[in-house]
């Protein structure tokens, strides 16, 4: 689609270079560890070496003898203020510091406050904690057995390790279809525990001013406003009142969902600042980050598809066990404990579906965060896209063909899914056609047949996903009761330049650029003249933050609506300046002109100046507007990904030879940034597909607690991604946009897994668990007698 605005205005559709880049490229970013304040102290944290046990004693005396160590905070100290527990964003509870029991390895046990980073670390090493270890519950299936110990004895009425049960769909009708179906396929699959592993870890600088009773917290948070409210709710009883709390989220070195929760480290730093009256900084190291921060995924799914003999899908049934660790510390909308897992019917039209999820406690770190995913969409898509391939193999159809025969037709939108969603728009066949053409699908199938005849292992994997994004409409979506709207506040200065503030918070997505382009699109001001600010709760309007691909669907929409209010006011001013009626005006981006007399015109900048200098009678001075946008529906981006892999029969190594991603995120604001989001998302899909997992041994030891074992893809394993797009606008979003940040993380793992299974399908392989490590492949090759 050709841009509507000139390159000078740089509205939607222009690949504007990013406004944030010059500071990042010259080492002038402002990340959390770059902040210092006079008299600043350091917090470092003592962590549990065991997964489960009683704390017999904490001896802080040697730590306190160390030069520079000022204090050691324990759970008992926080208990005096009733700050030793905190709520999670899912209304569960989580310890800030324990008073008697540790529940997972690397749990925070005490906080050491010192005058330097090094002294704080010395203090941590000198705190002596005596534990009485207990046998941990690590396997979530064992956690449900009758003889399993009840882990959350702190919760009144908790008699087992179940957290909640969730279900969606018509079980009876679905079961009936299964009973009578020609074909039923079933796969059990685990989407394992992984970690966002943003290159910047988490941290904060808490600055309590005891004279003013005012707290400023600079912190790595994707949702600063919500965090401020949570702080006011949990610490109101010790005098922290919301108007005296300022949360500032500075430049963030990657978030991906991992910087949504409130971690104990933040709270300990705040408590320490309040107690000592000094600024206290806490920066976690990589091992703390991988071992204690909220994990993602960990869904054990048992999936079945019922179909007719031709492979026409009739129903889907999924039973899931969700391992949440010791607390449900995910950050999903409150009415959606299993997130938006009910998107699991995906791109296919079927008669019915039923999905259920049971969540359990284990002795692992808490979490379930939506890692680059709109709340469990990744798990749902992986499950469906894998089992659809199993069905294709079972009925002897090409997996692309089987998908095409089951697609929801483009004429069927808005489409009511069996599990209750109203998909806004889609053209799945168009994305499939484009992906097949880009990769040369038929030629690849011929090549595969030739290679197979020679004993070489090559696979082609297809995934046609549908996402559900943009949470969300206030009738259904809230976090801790706060509705999931988002906001924008736009102010045009007298000289025609503007500032726009939003309730979201970029972590690399380029909001300073794309939001400016949205304002430019609507007002015709050059995007270069629009300053975008986010992240400071004292200045930005209230919003729920950036995660779940919600920034464009919610705050982006708010920006457009606020700009339109300003344009409406500008039209009144233009009519005044041109001495005509508003109805006699035409609008081209940036200019009002008189209908039929285009040479009689005023620019938006002239209208802005007049808003402060020459107003029509009765019009309020100034030129600013605010919008709190409550979306009428979610958005449903989609795409088809096709992947080609080669497998080394000697080592079992999988290499991704080619990967074509065709995405449809509706109208595109900045094509360059959208493509960058896809590239990054694909790489975060490659990781879990082939390399990344945080496994635990039976004693609850984290086996991937550093980058030595947690294998983030490097430039060498990562292929040269090939991208394309189709455009099916969202009918309800003011800009027709849908959001794009997470599509590729969602779509890539099943495409890669399907390619590996496809390479091995002739050997009778129907499923491979991710991550598909070389040893897992080699075991299969050995078992099938084809290892080289």
């Amino acid at each position: 689609m050709a841009p509507r605005t000139s390159a000078k205005i740089c509205g939607m559709g222009h690949s504007m270079k990013r406004k944030e880049d010059p500071r990042f490229l010259q080492g002038k970013g402002n990340y959390i560890d770059d902040f210092t304040l006079p008299g600043m102290l350091w917090l470092d944290i003592v962590r549990s070496p065991i997964a489960y046990g009683k704390i017999v004693n904490i001896d802080t005396s040697k730590a306190l003898e160390i030069d520079g160590v000022l204090a050691v905070l324990t759970g008992k100290d926080l208990e005096a203020y009733n700050l030793h527990w905190m709520p999670t964003l899912m209304s569960d509870t989580q310890m800030v510091l324990p008073t008697d029991t540790v529940m997972y390895q690397s749990q925070e046990v005490a906080g050491v406050i010192a005058t330097s980073r090094y002294a704080a670390a010395d203090g941590v090493a000198a705190v002596e904690v005596e534990y009485e270890p207990m046998k941990p519950v690590i396997d979530p299936f064992q956690a449900l057995e009758d003889d399993a110990p009840v882990l959350r004895t702190d919760k009144e009425g908790q008699e087992d390790n179940r957290i909640w049960h969730w279900e969606a769909g018509d079980k009876e009708a679905t079961d009936k279809i299964f009973d009578e179906a020609d074909v039923v396929v079933r796969e059990k699959m685990h989407v394992p525990r992984i970690h966002v592993a943003s290159i910047e870890t988490c941290g904060c600088l808490a600055d309590f001013n005891p004279v003013e009773g005012h707290l400023t917290v600079y912190m790595t948070t994707q949702a600063p406003h919500a965090i401020r409210t949570v702080l006011a709710l949990v610490a109101g009883h010790v005098g922290l009142s919301e108007e005296k709390i300022r949360v500032v989220s500075p430049d963030i070195g990657g978030g991906f969902g991992g910087k949504v929760p409130v971690y104990p480290g933040y709270v300990i730093a705040i408590a320490a600042s309040v107690v000592l009256g000094k600024p206290v900084k806490w920066i976690e190291d990589r091992m703390e980050n991988l071992q204690a921060d909220s994990f993602a995924r960990d869904y054990h799914m048992d999936a079945e598809v019922a179909a007719d003999s031709s492979g026409r899908i009739r129903a889907l049934r999924i039973k899931t066990l969700a391992d949440h660790g010791y607390s449900d510390a995910q950050a999903a909308p409150s009415k959606f404990p299993a997130g938006l897992f009910s998107i699991c019917t995906g791109s296919y039209d079927m008669e019915n579906a039923y999905a259920e999820v049971d969540a359990v406690y284990t002795n692992k770190p808490p979490g379930g965060v939506a890692y680059r995913c709109s709340f469990r969409v990744t798990e749902a898509v992986h499950c469906l896209e894998r089992i659809v391939d199993t069905l294709a193999h079972k009925v002897g159809k090409d997996p692309a063909t089987l998908r095409e025969e089951n697609f929801i037709g483009k004429e069927a939108f808005p489409y009511q899914s069996p599990l209750g969603w109203e998909y806004d728009s889609g053209d799945y066949q168009a994305a499939m056609d484009k992906a097949k053409e880009m990769i040369g699908y038929d030629d690849l199938r011929r090549e595969q047949a030739e290679k197979r005849a020679r004993g070489e292992l090559m696979g082609i994997g297809v995934c046609s996903f549908t996402e559900v994004l943009g949470a969300g409409p206030s009738k259904d979506f809230d976090i801790l009761g706060i509705k999931m709207f988002d906001s924008a506040e736009v102010r045009v200065h007298p000289t025609g330049k503007a500032i726009a503030r939003f309730g979201t918070k970029s972590q690399g997505q380029g909001h300073e650029t794309t939001y400016a382009q949205i304002i430019a699109e609507e007002l015709g001001l050059p995007a270069a003249h629009v300053q975008v600010e986010e992240g400071d709760t004292d200045t930005a309007p209230y919003g729920l933050g950036t995660y779940a691909s919600r920034s464009t669907p919610t705050a982006g929409a708010a920006g457009a609506m606020a700009a339109r209010k300003i344009r409406d006011k500008a039209a009144k001013i233009a009519a005044h300046l041109l001495e005509v009626s508003e109805d006699d005006l035409d609008w081209e981006p940036g200019t009002f002109s008189v209908k039929g007399a285009p040479d009689k015109s005023v620019s938006i900048q002239e209208c802005a100046f007049a808003a402060y200098t020459n107003l029509p009678e009765g019009l309020e001075p100034g030129m600013e507007a605010t919008n709190y946008y409550d979306p009428p529906n979610l958005t449903f981006p989609f795409g088809t990904y096709i992947c080609v892999v080669d497998i080394d029969r000697g080592t079992g190594e999988v290499s991704v030879r080619r990967f074509v991603a065709v995405d449809d995120c509706g109208n595109i604001i900045n094509p360059m940034i959208v493509q960058g989001q896809i590239h990054g998302g694909l790489t975060q899909g490659l990781g879990p597909a082939l390399y990344e997992e945080i496994p635990y041994d039976e004693d609850g030891n984290n086996l991937a607690g550093s980058f030595m074992d947690y294998l983030v893809p490097t430039a060498v394993e990562t292929p040269a991604w090939e991208t394309g797009h189709t455009v099916t606008p969202s009918p309800h979003h003011p800009l027709g946009a849908k959001g794009v940040g997470e599509s590729a993380t969602v779509g890539a793992p099943p495409a890669i897994a399907n390619a590996v299974v496809d390479a091995l399908a002739h050997l009778g392989v129907t499923h491979m668990e991710i991550p598909i490590r070389p040893d897992r492949v080699w075991e299969v090759l050995r078992e099938k007698g084809v290892a080289g």
Binding site: S198, I199, D251, R286, G508, V712, A715, T718, G724
Partner: protein, 167 residues
């Protein structure tokens, strides 16, 4: 703890400090010299966010002691741009969208700068190998490779390559 006098030249400017034996080079650069463009991402030499040039060699400053750098000539991201503006590589990152959150970027820039000093026209495979010790979680590396290619072309006096294609 023993204290040592350390003298380093950073981006052409000499600095002397008395430091603890255990002070890491990255903390000397960030905390003592207030050059916060060099980042810390892992403490274990895996991620490369802390990469600086020590006598021209890309070095992960989170696992080097400040005392080991005594007398060294150190280059950090703050030294790449000059009065004429950003370096060709910095410009390449901007033009090719080779950065998103920007946290790994200083390390990538220093590694890329050293690569181009040693190899004026690296192949894609050589670029990928060179930056394999620098993790990026945002970009998927494609545009970082293009950014290095852009800089190589510009430094050779050729026209900059076309923008990345999206069909």
């Amino acid at each position: 703890m023993a204290r040592h006098n350390v003298t380093v030249t950073v981006n052409g400017e000499a600095h002397s400090r008395e430091v603890d034996s255990r002070l890491l080079l990255v903390h000397l650069i960030r905390d003592e010299l207030a050059l916060t463009g060099t980042h810390i991402g892992c403490d274990t030499t895996h991620c490369g966010a802390c990469t600086v040039l020590v006598d021209g060699v890309p070095t992960k400053s989170c696992t080097v002691l400040a005392v080991q750098a005594d007398g060294a000539d150190i280059g950090t991201v703050e030294g790449l741009a000059d009065a004429n503006g950003m370096s060709a590589l910095q410009e390449g990152f901007m033009q090719e969208h080779g950065l998103q959150c920007g946290f790994c970027t200083p390390g990538m820039l220093m590694t890329g700068t050293a690569l181009l000093a040693a190899n004026a026209n690296p192949s894609e495979a050589e670029i990928r190998e060179a930056i394999s010790g620098n993790l990026c979680r945002c970009t998927g590396y494609v545009n970082i490779v293009k950014a290095v290619e852009y800089a190589a072309a510009k430094m050779a006096g050729a026209d900059a390559p076309a923008d990345g294609e999206d069909n």
